[in-house]
Amino acid sequence: MIPPQFDYHAPGSLEEALALLGELDDAKVMSGGQSLLPMLKLRLASPANIVDISRIPGLDSITETASFLRIGALVTETALEESEVVAERYPILLDTARVIADPLVRNRATICGNVAHGDPANDHPATMMALRAQMVATGPDGERVIGVDDFFHGLFMTALEPGEILTEIRIPTPGSAGGGAGGNGLRSAGEQSGGAYIKLERKVGDYAVAGAAVQLTLDDSGKVARAGVGLTNLGMAPIRATVAEEVLTGARLVARGGFRGAIDKMRDAITRAPDADEIINAAAQAAADATDPVADRRGSVEYKRNMARVLTARATARALTRAHTPAGG
């Protein structure tokens, strides 16, 4: 439980950090340290140099522009949880942050670190897939933007090059209701969107047995215009369940009569279309089929596949309800 020796560097600016990464041999970026430090303490990683970016000013903001919610490299889970814009308009992000580890870890852990770590057991990657997020990598030659679909390459492997820092995550802004939209960041009038992340864990603070992130955008006729489905800890990399998305896209899940008519007094009960359950179940099954889990202490392959199904169905239902709740959330 004591890390091997390393040299510690704490650059004061992004330029300095990038320069250090260029100069030093065997250097690792550290932001919150909540994945890296455990690996060091278990002596599973032994980089010669650690470049701690956590003191660099200006990287800790959450801002919403017309097209994107922009999450800086040093935004912590706690900051995400406390953000008003996130609570109002991106409840799926709040769902995700809340089920990560415990408050002590969340006070330090960053969203960018969570994604950059490339661990399929981490929760944010699935959500970022459902939201069609974009990763902004800054290297010696400047910025480049990587779509989430191209970002995760395998267990602890991402599109980031050595010497690059993930400086920002961009999430396309939502339709008129809560939840990010997915798509190109542009939206047509009358769209509504909602999303939800549901994680099954053995106890609080545990990594997911399985997790499902679903983001739905409905057009003004109530049909699903776009759907995003991401899955946690069900394969060697985070999974985007494209077939499930296809099943949902174009489907009418809400009873005719417009949104208002469909909203029940009860927040969680909307009037679904007669075949909505069937469609949701088909999508959930498609999500399960996209998984490739391994048996471990969290359960058998069969169990995990089924949990992908159950959680996708539940997350879809919740996303749908949220898309219909005018205040979002």
């Binding site: 002596r43 099954l200 106890k203 202490r297």
Partner: protein
């Protein structure tokens, strides 16, 4: 049966007052003094190289790279210890265990070598740099396979050991029991495993060994629940290297949880002591979490095959249990010597039956040694789980409500003292009263109606009942000893001239609140305010000899000793009071804190007046001072009991079990501090919830520990823990001086079967009669899927 009003005022704060814990100000301010807070001048660090494999030969240990690291001073191996004949040590069960191996490793994470360095960091780097070459062998992991004819004999070091059996133990009349089974209307049977778990106390184990080469004196600051016994063991095993008992001092400072896991001696302690003796400097050793979980003594691991014979109406006639106990590499339990299977023969529990027979076979496997009594009076947890589960199976089989079936089989309250078929004399009990209270608190009948409605809708809800009987307070000297030392305990009370007191005990609190409850006992008996009684434990140089704190024995033994010592002082005080009031002793009346003259209540002296007089104004011929000691040898054990009722809901999609409600009604006799008792029950219930739903240390076939860190060893947090609802009845112990019984462990014992019974109850209509603990969601889901009810 009702709660008596406290006899003492709030100022005196004797029994029955919820006095705030005297130890808490220091704990809450982070001012406790734990092992790792102790730093001595010139102190060195020990860190331990551990085996990655479960079984194999050590071909070579190369320490040269470690010794090149700045700050690394020495690497100790089994061969080094062999030179002093310190490479083996006895366990408390008279088995043997390696300190460090000379040629073979027997379990994963076994201690292989000790690295001594000038800092914790250098020691850790040294450990990583020691190169050990192993020749792996095929380990024996499954205890059933361990007993097969072709299983390799693991303990080839033990002369005459021809197989992997450690011992066979049995209790009861086999023939008579078999006869009842042969003729019984109904027989039910369940096979079950109470799996290997770990106490996982917040503070891991550690010590600072400080050998003074000039004086030949050894002080060991150590995380131990039994400092006196440890000192004696050290004197016995290290006498040949010059350590004798008067030159050994064991100090047990504040302890961050023991739960039975800090009774044994672990190799790390011995290596630290050896290193300090060899180097003549203080040496500190502190385990990390993974070492603690992977190598220190486990608990439970009993495979039980239980049968109940009954008549057609469900009246229990007999119980038969066959058990396989997996002890790992060595029998390193900490049970009383004459009880290799602990107090497992309490397995007839709260029920009146004609006969019973229980047997246990213990085996060696390639797993860490142990079998400690985790918050449990020596195997009571296993016994209660087994009985309470199989009694539910009987209820379902004869179609009776499990609460009703229990009530119909309870030992009636008139039957106490009750002689159980397996030889115990239960001191007192009123099981129906606890059951009635629990049912009323939870609204039992309404819950059954709700369950029926939910079942009709396809929802899964279950109600589990457990009516346990505990056995604790080991114990009477005729039966109970550890390595020959009788299991009495002790108190030494000294009242100072100003009427304040110090009381020292042979036990050692690890969070139980002794500094408060013992002070309250003295307050009760002497009428001195508890706030004026300073309690000390844990230093063998100052505390009277005792066997320590585990198995809920502190109140039954040392607590009783405290009361008896206080009574001796009160007797002396009475003589002094008579002298001061110039009356004869017979003319005095005592009410806590004051002697007054019968019929003239304004003529009185306080206990403080008597204390002052004991030093200043004595009656002729009386020995000065005000001090008494008592070594208390209990006449019997005590038998607390209770009924727990649990309500669970099961998620048909995920298999998750949520404990919606849990009512615990305990009867621990007279209560010293109600708040502390409640705290003990809350903690105990949570430590019962853990093994019921979360905790387990499984091994793969190569002997790899699959839950060796808190990533996979799932200790419940506040989030998983339901809001416990507690209640109590009071049935005093007739033989304990205070009528108290002990309570530290009842809840850990009673909670797992209540929870398991609730889950099985939720699934009973599907034909489910048993589920193994921990009841993980994936296990539940597999049943739901098999029965076609998974959503």
């Amino acid at each position: 049966m009702s709660d008596a009003k406290p006899r003492t005022s709030a100022k005196i704060c004797g029994m029955g007052h919820s006095m705030k814990r005297k130890e808490d100000p220091r704990f809450l301010q982070g001012k406790g003094n734990y092992i790792d807070d102790i730093t001595l001048p010139g102190m060195l660090w020990l860190d331990i190289v551990r085996s990655p494999i479960a079984y194999g030969k050590i071909v070579n240990i190369d320490a040269s790279k470690a010794l090149e690291i700045d700050g690394v001073l020495a690497v100790l191996t089994g061969k080094d210890l062999e030179a002093y004949n310190l490479h083996w040590m006895p366990t408390l069960m008279s088995d043997t265990q390696m300190v460090l191996p000379t040629d073979t490793v027997m379990y994963q994470s076994q201690e292989v070598a000790g690295v001594i360095a000038t800092s914790r960091y250098a020691a850790a780097d040294g450990v990583a740099a020691v190169e050990v070459e192993y020749e792996p062998m095929k380990p024996v992991i499954d205890p059933f396979q361990a007993l097969e004819d072709d299983a390799p004999v693991l303990r080839t070091d033990k002369e005459g050991q021809e197989d992997n059996r450690i011992w066979h133990w049995e209790a009861g009349d086999k023939e008579a029991t078999d006869k009842i089974f042969a003729e019984a209307d109904v027989v039910v049977r369940e096979k079950m495993h109470v799996p290997r778990i770990h106490v996982a106390s917040i503070e891991t184990c550690g010590c600072v060994a400080d050998f003074n080469p000039v004086e030949g004196h050894l002080t060991v600051y150590m995380t131990t629940q039994a400092p006196h016994a440890i000192r004696t063991v050290l004197a016995l095993v290290a006498g040949h290297v010059g350590l004798s008992e008067e030159k050994i001092r064991v100090v047990s400072p504040d302890i961050g949880g023991g739960f039975g896991g800090k009774v044994p001696v672990y190799p790390g302690y011995v290596v630290a002591i050896a290193a300090s003796v060899v180097l003549g400097k203080p040496v500190k050793w502190i385990e990390d979490r993974m070492e603690n979980l992977q190598a220190d003594s486990f608990a439970r691991d009993y495979h039980m095959d239980a049968e109940v014979a009954a008549d057609a109406s469900g009246k229990i006639r007999a119980l038969r249990i066959k058990t396989l106990a997996d002890h790992g590499y060595s029998d390193a339990q900490a049970a009383p010597s004459k009880f290799p299977a602990g107090l497992f023969s309490i397995c007839t529990g709260s029920y009146n039956m004609e006969n019973a027979y229980a047997e246990v076979d213990a085996v060696y496997t390639n797993k860490p040694p142990g079998g400690v009594a985790y918050r449990c009076s020596f195997r009571v947890t296993e016994a209660v789980h087994c009985l309470e589960r199989v009694v539910d199976t009987l209820a379902h089989k004869v179609g009776k409500d499990p609460a009703t079936l229990r009530e119909e089989n309870f030992i009636p309250k008139e039957a106490f003292p009750y002689h159980s078929p397996l030889g115990w004399e239960y001191d007192s009990g009123d099981y129906q009263a606890a059951m009635d209270k629990a049912k009323e608190m939870i609204g039992y009948d309404d819950l059954r109606r709700e369950q029926a409605e939910k079942r009709a809708r396809g929802e899964l809800m279950g109600i589990g009942v457990c009516s346990f009987t505990e056995v604790l307070g080991a114990g009477p000297s005729k039966d109970f000893d550890i390595l020959g030392i009788k299991m009495f305990d002790s108190a030494e009370v000294r009242v100072h001239p100003t009427g304040k007191a110090i009381a020292r005990f042979g036990t050692k609190s690890q969070g139980q609140g002794h500094e408060t409850t013992y002070a309250q006992i003295i307050a009760e008996e002497l009428g001195l305010p508890a706030a004026h009684v300073q309690v000390e434990e844990g230093d063998t140089d100052t505390a009277p000899y005792g066997l320590g704190t585990y198995a809920s024995r502190s109140t039954p033994t040392a607590g009783a000793a405290g009361a008896m010592a206080a009574r001796k002082i009160r007797d002396k005080a009475a003589k002094i009071a008579a002298h001061l009031l110039e009356v004869s002793e017979e003319d005095l009346e005592w009410e806590p804190g004051t002697f007054s003259v019968k019929g003239a209540p304004d003529k009185s002296v306080s206990i403080q007046d008597c204390a002052f007089a004991a030093y200043t104004n004595l009656p002729e011929g009386m020995e000065p001072g005000m001090e008494a000691t008592n070594y208390y040898d209990p006449p019997n054990l005590t038998f607390p009991f209770g009924t727990y009722i649990c309500v669970v809901d099961i998620d048909r999609g995920t298999g998750e079990v949520s404990v919606r409600r849990f009512v615990a009604v305990d009867d621990c006799g007279n209560i010293i501090n109600p708040m502390i008792v409640q705290g003990q029950i809350h903690g105990g219930l949570t430590q019962g919830l853990g093994p019921a739903l979360f905790e387990e240390i499984p091994y793969d076939e190569d002997g790899n520990n699959l839950a060796g860190s808190f990533m996979d060893y799932l200790v419940p947090t506040a989030v998983e823990t339901p809001a416990w609802e507690t209640g109590h009845t009071v049935t005093p112990s007739p033989h304990h001086p205070l009528g108290a019984k002990g309570v530290g462990e009842s809840a850990t014992v009673g909670a797992p079967p209540a929870i398991a019974n609730a889950v099985v109850d939720a699934l009973a209509h599907l034909g489910v009669t048993h589920m193994e603990i921990p009841i993980r969601p994936d296990r539940v889901w597999e049943i739901l899927a098999a029965k076609g009810v998974a959503k």
